[in-house]
């Protein structure tokens, strides 16, 4: 915190705008990287868990299917903020398991995303026509081979649009991690707000939050662009996920 106070006190000499610009620096230098790290981390975790969950729900034996469905409903049924508090304060205060705030947030949001992602992949797997599995098996492929070489590559392509949606939504959900003190974008915004209010007064607060909003907006747009590019790269004739009606 001393770093911040120092900068603000220097800034007061140079006028309002300069102070603001200086104070915003940590948003870019610290907030953005942490938000990105948390987003990528939880998306990766959700992917690693979501995919097997989806396959287990489609191809697994009944008890396994039931187990996965229960998992998925549980994590989709609890608010993200409550999950974060549960994995941080809950574990820390009741069981003395003190996880670093970042780790708690990662686990809570990652598990939650795995539930949503499993739904995305399940839908995609189920929309691959049954004939594909029949043809693969009739060639002598095992079920696992058929899944890996035939179903998976098609399901992955089909799931990119919904997955892009999940990306946008978890990127914004990372702001909830500020509640347990992860200094990502939103938390950084809060810290700056306090400093600025002391140095320049309350009327600058809106500007701070507008800047924070714009940063989220830019990150979301960039991510969507990237995934759109991926979708195009993997496009196969006859496999378009966006049909065209010309009139």
């Amino acid at each position: 915190m001393e770093r911040g106070t120092l900068r603000v006190s220097q800034g007061t000499k140079g006028g309002g705008v300069e102070t603001i610009l200086q104070s915003l620096q940590p948003l870019i230098v610290k907030g953005v990287p942490l938000t990105i790290a948390l987003t990528l981390g939880l998306l990766g975790m959700g992917l690693a868990l979501g995919f097997p969950l989806a396959f287990a729900q489609v191809y697994g034996y009944r008890p396994l299917r039931w187990l996965c469905a229960t998992y998925e409903q549980t994590f989709r049924g609890i608010p993200a903020l409550v999950l974060i508090l549960l994995f941080h304060s809950g574990l820390a205060l009741s069981f003395h398991i003190l996880l670093p705030a970042f780790v708690s947030a990662l686990i809570a949001l990652g598990l939650r995303s795995s539930a949503y992602q499993s739904q995305i992949f399940r839908g995609a797997i189920q929309s691959v026509s049954e004939g594909q599995m029949l043809a693969a098996r009739s060639l002598g492929m095992s079920k696992l081979q058929a899944i890996r070489h035939i179903i998976l590559p098609q399901a992955l392509r089909l799931s990119i649009p919904s997955w892009t949606n999940e990306f946008s939504s978890v990127l914004k959900d990372t702001s909830l991690a500020s509640a347990i003190g992860v200094v990502e974008l939103a938390k950084e915004g809060t810290l700056i707000m306090t400093r600025i209010q002391h140095a320049l007064g309350a009327r600058w607060i809106l500007a701070i939050w507008l800047v924070v909003s714009i940063i989220y907006l830019v990150l979301t747009a960039l991510g969507n662009r990237g995934l759109g590019f991926l979708e195009n790269r993997l496009r196969i004739p006859g496999f378009e996920t966006r049909g065209k009606v010309e009139r």
Binding site: S129, G131, Q132, L134, A135, A136, R137, S138, L139, G140, M141, S142, Q145, H149, I150, P153, Q154, R157, I236, P237, G238, F239
Partner: protein, 256 residues
């Protein structure tokens, strides 16, 4: 066309007393048949008679309730048999083609030899190209299924089956989903295969094809084989009244 050389030929497929029911619907009621090496038999009969189910029971895509199936020395219906190894030897050509939509024609044909028979990519690729040439589609090697006509799709799917060097190929109404003008190119490939000595069991109402290459036509109704005979005899003197009726209907529909 019954071929005396084949009379004591090697038995490729033996089906004995197959029964299969889906819920309350008894689809197969004791079907038995044999195929010798190099024989082509054509199964005809009204829809819902169990023709497709018969084919699916032969490569165990469906499991029969009763009865046995042998492919050469291997009992397909034995629960302990490695079914993937058996299926690798039985080609299956679907009415709806079922080409892998995310793979080019070449890769559709290559994937079986590569993933099931363990061939190297290069070797499997060469083989796939040869099979595509055999069905006249070498120039479409890099096309995706959606870029092919129905007839071309079905020829790729035949090439896909051939690349596995199958002992037997099962055809499930291979031309029923095709526009009339595309049927010819697929039948031409199939006639070529039959003449090259491939062992084939074909569910189809293409009587021209049956006349040209079938050693026998099997007429199925209500889950059983009603009558079986070489085409000329079946057309000239059907023994069963139902067979005669059905053949008359086919001729009315498709002409000669």
């Amino acid at each position: 066309m019954s071929n005396p050389v084949r009379a004591d030929g090697e038995i490729v497929l033996r089906v004995e007393d197959l029964h299969k029911a889906y819920a309350d619907n008894q689809v197969l009621r004791g079907v038995s048949l044999r195929l010798l090496k190099g024989e082509t038999k054509v199964v005809i009969g009204p829809s819902g008679t169990g023709k497709s189910t018969l084919l699916r029971c032969i490569n165990a895509l469906s499991v029969p309730d009763r009865g046995r199936v042998w492919l050469e020395e291997t009992e397909v219906t034995d629960r302990h048999v490695d079914i993937n190894k058996v299926r690798a030897k039985i080609g299956f050509v679907f009415q709806s083609f079922n080409l892998f939509s995310h793979l080019t024609a070449l890769h559709n044909v290559r994937i079986g030899p590569m993933r099931v028979r363990g061939m190297s990519k290069a070797e499997a690729g060469r083989l796939a190209m040869e099979e595509l040439e055999r069905v006249g589609l070498a120039d479409k090697a890099s096309a995706y299924p959606a870029e092919l006509s129905g007839g071309q799709k079905q020829r790729v799917s035949i090439a896909r089956a051939l690349a596995m060097f199958p002992t037997l190929i099962l055809f499930d109404e291979p031309t029923s989903a095709l526009d009339p003008e595309l049927i010819g190119e697929v039948l031409e490939v199939m006639i070529g295969l039959a003449k090259d000595g491939m062992t084939m069991l074909v569910v189809s109402h293409e009587m021209g094809f049956a006349r040209a290459v079938a050693d026998e036509i099997l007429f199925m109704e209500h889950g059983g084989i009603v009558e079986q005979a070489p085409p000329e005899r079946l057309f000239a003197r059907p023994e069963n009244e139902r067979t005669a009726q059905f053949l008359r209907k086919l001729t009315e529909l498709y002409g000669e």
